[in-house]
């Protein structure tokens, strides 16, 4: 049976070695500070600085006012475009949106005749096309309405929708991206550190050396799990308080200790995955290739980047077995929605159950791999 003392001392050795490995220490430091920061500030899939052009065949005061309504930061200053050039401009990706104002638009509008505005949208810009179009529609409608209200005593629509965004009222993408980045780094680093520690031990021959002593494979694996898991947990705690809440000023709705408790549970799975991949690959280079494939796949399928609801149904059901999916889910629930233990305990339990099962599997693979020899 595992001796707690052995696991403890081996884990302490693990920490000592890690602290001397400059490359890994820098990697951890980078991942939980700069990487989180730059990812949070980096991409946004919201409409920002969108390129827009106007085909103004009306050339009226109103048509000019419509163009002038498109303002930064959402839109770049609109450019003029000839009708004949629309297709070429969109083919080349020069603009995402082209608004076409037909001849006699203002005159027709004032005369109460039926008028029409056309928006050509490059629908290959998936992330902005739809919401961009709806912004444009709203801006155009508002401008025209204002114009009509100035001249007429006309009334507004019967229903007006007031949208309130819960948990992130201003729709600040930095909040979301910061947590996604943190969650991704936790998985990547936990897998990499643990797997690399295992392979280093094997490549340096110290694994054999340990096994020739009264030390079991289970103890070696457990030592790596707790030591590397602890490093990640501390780094994550630092990142969430100093980087996410501090530098990025993202308010977290729920309890940070509850989140960290969840991270601790999740780390059993992530470090076990590191042990598994470290066992499967024969060299550090193979391990690197495997980590990239595995972690990338996990990140894509776990709902951090795109919500799991959008996956095809068969895939959505399949991803229920991924602890990372539940991790992403409870991380968002706690940090954004302020969910308490009563709302996330099921996910905690799922992560713990799947993680434990996988850890046992990984350790048995590890033990078997040693018995088979190099």
């Amino acid at each position: 049976m595992a001796s707690a003392a052995t696991v403890f001392w081996l884990g302490l050795k693990e920490l000592r070695e890690l602290s001397r490995d400059v490359v890994l220490v820098v990697f951890v430091a980078y991942a939980f500070t700069l990487a989180v920061f730059s990812q949070a500030r980096g991409t946004s899939s919201e409409v920002h600085n969108a390129s827009i052009a106007f085909v103004d065949d009306d050339r009226s005061a109103l048509s000019r006012r419509l163009a002038a309504a498109f303002l930064p930061p959402r839109f770049q200053p609109p450019r003029e475009l000839a009708a004949a050039d629309i297709e070429r401009a969109l083919d080349a990706g020069r603009f995402m949106f082209v608004v076409v104002i037909p001849p006699r638009f203002e005159a027709d509008l004032r005369a109460g005749r039926r008028t029409e505005l056309q928006i050509d949208i490059d629908a290959t810009a998936m992330f902005q096309a739809s919401s961009g179009a709806s912004f444009i529609e709203r801006i155009l409608t508002d401008e025209v309405t204002r114009e009509l209200q100035r001249s007429d005593e006309a009334l507004d629509l019967p229903l007006r929708l007031v949208v309130r965004k819960a948990f992130n009222p201003n729709g600040d993408v930095v909040w979301f991206n910061a947590i996604v980045a943190l969650v991704n780094q936790i998985t990547l680093l936990a897998v990499t550190l643990t797997g690399a520690a295992l392979i280093r031990e094997r490549e340096h021959g110290t694994l054999e050396h340990l096994l020739a002593m009264p030390v079991t494979a289970f103890e070696i694996a457990l030592a790596k799990v707790w030591a590397n898991g602890l490093v990640i947990l501390v780094a994550a705690a630092f990142s969430v308080s100093a980087v996410v809440r501090g530098v990025l000023a993202v308010p977290t709705a729920g309890s940070v200790p509850l989140f960290l408790a969840g991270v601790a549970i999740y780390l059993f799975f992530a470090t076990a995955l590191g042990i598994f991949l470290g066992t499967v690959s024969r060299t550090m280079a193979q391990f690197g290739l495997l980590v990239i494939l595995t972690v990338f796949t996990l990140q894509m399928l776990s709902g951090g980047n795109t919500p799991v609801e959008s996956q095809p149904e068969w895939l959505e059901r399949l991803t229920l077995v991924l602890p990372s999916r539940h991790f992403v889910s409870f991380a968002q629930a706690i940090l954004f929605r302020g969910a308490g233990f009563d709302l996330v305990w099921r996910e905690f339990a799922a992560v713990a159950a799947i993680g434990t099962a996988f850890l046992l599997y990984a350790v048995s693979r590890f033990r078997a791999s040693i018995a088979v020899g190099r």
């Binding site: 080349a92 019967p158 929708l161 968002q332």
Partner: protein, 914 residues
């Protein structure tokens, strides 16, 4: 002796210094190497032999001092390029410059191509070399599956294929069995008889072997101790063996106690044997590593295992320690069977594995303390024991040094201290002294003798030093998995009728009836009879480029992991990303908090139910319920219908309806809000049309008609799926190329590039092309997956897109080459490539944000990154249905990247080891 040798020198070195970081490898070396001789550099590991040879071969950049080889300055690149075809360099390590995946013939052929030997001459020349070295029966066997001795013969063939004038061999026989070693030297002697003008320069740590050389250069700590013939040196020091000569040449402080090692006779000891091996056999697949090995070791005995690398010594020892289960047979320690999982027996055994296997990052003290704890020695006793061991093993002065910076001899003492920390009754030591200098080796043996004779510890030690074998009480000769003989050294010598232990070993090997392959080779007469001087082919550069490309292609095709990564990885990620990245917002769960419950409010709720974007959930009971279910992620959208909703609506005027969207994911929230707005607007417009009492603006507003071009159904797959290949064909080929270059650095075969006439561009293109071809095949597969699995048709100009893909993979593999130039380990290459390439690929190339919306630095990076253009071409060809002329602009942009990136990679690639 080499009487026919031409006069003069083949190499001269003056004031040569070399350092690695803070470590001095060579310190003002001045020596002249006479031509046409066999010259040996002697000294243990780490004294600077390899550095000197590397500098002479042109593999290393000269830091200070002067090196002249074959009549010119090696610091002058023109001279180096001119003479490198006349030099052959075989680096240290068994088959280090060979490719394990390639066959014997392919390896030699690769070198023949590098030296631009014309295709029609190559087969005959290679056949003659294989014949001469006895490798002729195995031209197709992968080098990785050869024994150490055979690998060295292949190495020799590759060195001789271009008739060098200077042959440089770095420890060619270390780790090779005695018979192969003898054959190797016979072969060299034969070749020298054929070509007396050829100079041979050999480094060796084996002093006995060095006695055959014409001239010796003894080296210690980067300085020359002495130069002379073996006889001269022995006479000068008044010693009888070269090992003693070497020690006598050392400065006084390093000579050690100067007393010969005395091994007292073993006191008689009765009782059951400590170790019994009974018909132990270990098979790995088809390969039998240990074949039917039996022996007994008595308590307190020093029992030696003598044999070459890979003969089964380590495997046998691992079976005895329980690290490896035996395939058949049994082993007993102290009368109890060795159980692979048993822990109890391990407390009575100390094991020291072959390589240095302590924690380099821990100090001497920390290593000792850790091991004491792992053996559960009580703290107080452990402290006393550690203090005693540090004293006795001479470790006290190094107590707080990290183990990785210790000199080799001290490290081995630390390993031994760790192995005995729990006072075991038995020690199993696997090649504890390999590479250790003679003085430290004697010191180490003194400790062993003390343990054996003083404390009655049974010692089972393996070695490949013949003279160490003589120190054992009994010795077992091992070769190719079998024990050839087992007796006291004296008896073994007597049985062979010789006083030379190597002779005795070879005698035992002959007795054991060697299989074919190790049989003595035919005389080397055929070696050089390959007809006149080499006429170089028209384009030697192209030949060399293709040689590298050919080798690279064979290696990748035979490496299942890299192949699986290239194709399997691409397909897996294509599927995962294709399904995983989607902006389609569907099945948004919503619930209504209907405080009105009028027909008008039910109408509105029904309007949502009719949209495919929304999925209804039971109504909300109250505001708290709303909050809770949003929090629990049960719903993403809630709308509150006020109590007077129906009445207000009927009365006219504007009624406000408030909705709450889960804002956790802002992009998704924005889309949901947009959808909800359009559902409500549609509903309101319907209401107006149905006959609203008052004229409203709504009736006069222009009809706004959004046209979603290229993708009318606005399904994200039409945009996402074609952009995935652009991402994957960046990541995977760049990683694979970087790894393939760095792999050469890590394994050491990059030395072939340093010492052959290969130019940087030939090397880079040769490395790049096979990966680019693989990437292009992967591209085709991805297109097929996109069209069939995801149902995204290729509407535009396919051939032009393929041209873009060709140029794109050339650019991405070239990026791999650039990254390879500043990484030195494969794992660093993998992660560095991933980190460096993914940021611009994902953020600045138009994957999530169109390039036209980027500003400032992001725009600059996006414009200067090839993915931007291929992504545009791919999405353009698939979804926009663009024709050839519109794609040609992207092709042109991509074409510009290739030469620029290659020029950068070329500039960053050092032509010599720094």
């Amino acid at each position: 002796m080499a009487n026919r040798a031409p006069a003069g020198t083949v190499a001269e070195v003056e004031g040569l210094g070399h350092r690695y970081g803070g470590t001095v490898a060579l310190d003002g070396v001045t020596v002249a190497i006479p031509a046409g001789r066999m010259v040996g550099l002697i000294g243990p590991d780490g004294v600077g032999k390899s550095t000197l040879l590397g500098l002479l071969a042109g593999a290393k950049r000269i830091q200070s001092g002067r090196v002249a080889v074959l009549g010119g300055d090696m610091a002058d690149p023109r001279h180096r390029d001119a003479v490198c075809p006349r030099i052959a360099f075989m680096p240290q390590g068994l088959g280090r410059n060979l490719s394990n995946e390639l066959s014997v013939f392919e390896n030699v052929d690769f070198f023949a191509r590098l030296f631009a030997i014309p295709a029609r001459e190559r087969p005959a020349r290679i056949a003659a070399l294989l014949e001469a070295t006895g490798l002729a029966p195995f031209p197709d066997r992968p080098v990785g599956k050869l024994s150490g001795g055979m690998k060295q013969k292949v190495g020799l063939c590759t060195a001789l294929v271009h008739d060098p004038d200077l042959l440089i061999l770095d420890e060619p026989t270390t780790g090779v069995d005695p018979l192969s070693r003898r054959q190797f030297w016979t072969l060299i002697a034969d070749i020298r008889r054929e070509r007396p003008e050829m100079s041979v320069l050999v480094a060796t740590a084996d002093m006995e072997e060095a006695s055959r050389f014409d001239l010796l250069v003894a080296i210690d700590r980067g300085r020359i101790l002495a130069v002379g013939t073996p006889a001269e040196l022995m006479a000068r020091t008044g010693t009888t063996t070269l090992e003693a000569t070497y020690v006598a040449l050392l400065p006084e402080a390093e000579r050690g106690p100067g007393r010969a090692l005395v091994i007292p006779p073993r006191p008689p000891f009765d009782g059951p044997p400590a170790i019994v091996a009974r018909r132990l056999t270990k098979r790995f697949g088809e390969f039998t590593a240990v074949d039917d090995v039996s022996f007994e070791i008595a308590r307190g005995e020093i029992f030696g295992f003598l044999g070459s690398n890979g003969c089964g010594k380590s495997t046998t020892m691992k079976m005895l320690t329980g690290l490896l289960p035996a395939s058949s047979g049994a082993a007993f320690l102290f009368g109890a069977p060795v159980d692979a999982t048993g822990v109890a027996a391990r407390r009575r055994v100390g094991y020291m594995s072959q390589a240095f296997s302590l924690y380099g990052a821990l100090t001497v003290r920390q290593n000792l303390v850790l091991h004491a704890r792992l053996f559960h020695i009580p703290a107080a006793r452990a402290a006393a024991r550690i203090a005693a061991l540090e004293e006795r093993f001479g470790l006290a002065a190094h107590r707080d040094d990290r183990a990785e910076i210790l000199p080799l001899g001290v490290r081995q003492r630390l390993s031994l201290a760790v192995a005995v920390i729990h006072e075991p009754e038995m020690l199993i030591l696997d090649e504890p002294t390999s590479g250790v200098d003679p003085v430290a080796r004697d010191g180490f043996w003194e400790l062993l003798v003390e343990l054996s004779r003083g404390e009655g510890v049974t010692i089972f030690v393996s070695t490949h030093f013949m003279n160490e074998a003589l120190r054992c009480d009994r010795i077992s000769l091992m070769h190719a998995g079998r024990v050839l003989a087992c007796d006291t050294p004296a008896a073994l010598l007597a049985a062979a009728g010789t006083d030379d232990f190597e002779e005795a070993f070879i005698h035992a090997m002959a007795d054991a009836a060697e299989p074919a392959g190790a049989a003595a080779p035919p005389p080397a007469a055929a070696v050089l009879h390959h007809g006149g001087p080499v006429r170089p082919p028209r384009f030697p550069g192209l030949t060399r480029l293709l040689a590298y490309a050919h080798r690279e292609a064979l290696e990748i095709l035979r490496d299942p992991v890299r192949l699986a990564f290239a194709f399997g990885g691409a397909l897996l990620l294509m599927v995962v990303l294709g399904y995983g990245i989607t902006t389609d917002v569907e099945h948004v769960r919503y619930a209504a908090f209907d405080q009105d419950r009028s027909p008008a409010s039910r109408d509105l709720v029904a309007a949502f139910a009719g949209s495919r974007s929304f999925t209804g959930r039971p109504d909300l009971a109250d505001a708290a319920d709303l909050e809770r279910r949003l929090r629990a992620n049960e719903i993403s959208l809630a709308f509150e219908i006020p109590p007077q909703f129906g009445r207000d609506l009927a009365r006219g005027g504007t009624t406000e309806l408030s909705v709450v969207v889960d804002g956790a994911n802002p992009a998704r929230a924005e889309t949901i809000a947009a959808y909800a707005t359009s559902v409500v607007a549609g509903h309101a417009a319907d209401a107006v049309r149905r006959g609203s009492p008052l004229p409203r603006v709504a009736a006069r507003l222009p009809a706004i008609e959004p046209r979603f071009l290229y993708n009318p159904a606005f399904e994200s797959k039409y945009a996402i799926v074609p952009s995935i290949p652009a991402t994957l064909l960046m990541l995977l080929p760049a990683i694979l190329t970087a790894v393939s270059v760095v792999r050469e650095k890590e394994l050491g075969s990059i030395v072939n590039f340093y010492v052959t006439p290969t130019t940087r561009l030939e090397f880079l293109l040769g490395k790049q092309l096979p990966t680019a071809v693989i990437a292009l095949v992967a591209y085709m597969l991805l297109v097929v997956v996109a069209v069939t699995l995801f149902g995204v048709p290729l509407r535009g100009h396919g051939p032009m897109l393929t041209l873009c893909a060709c140029l794109y993979v050339l650019a991405t593999t070239a990026i791999g080459l650039v990254i390879a130039s500043f990484t030195s380990s494969q794992v660093a290459a993998v992660f560095a490539t991933a980190i460096v390439t993914m940021l611009p690929t994902i953020q600045f190339s138009g994957l999530f944000q169109p390039v036209s919306t980027l500003v400032g630095q992001a725009r600059v990076v996006g414009t200067l990154w090839p993915t931007t253009y291929f992504l545009h071409a791919s999405v353009g060809a698939f979804t926009k249905g663009l024709d050839a002329p519109l794609l040609a602009a992207d092709a042109l942009a991509l074409a510009a990247f290739v030469p620029v990136l290659l020029a950068i990679a070329r500039a960053l690639l050092p032509r010599q080891e720094v």
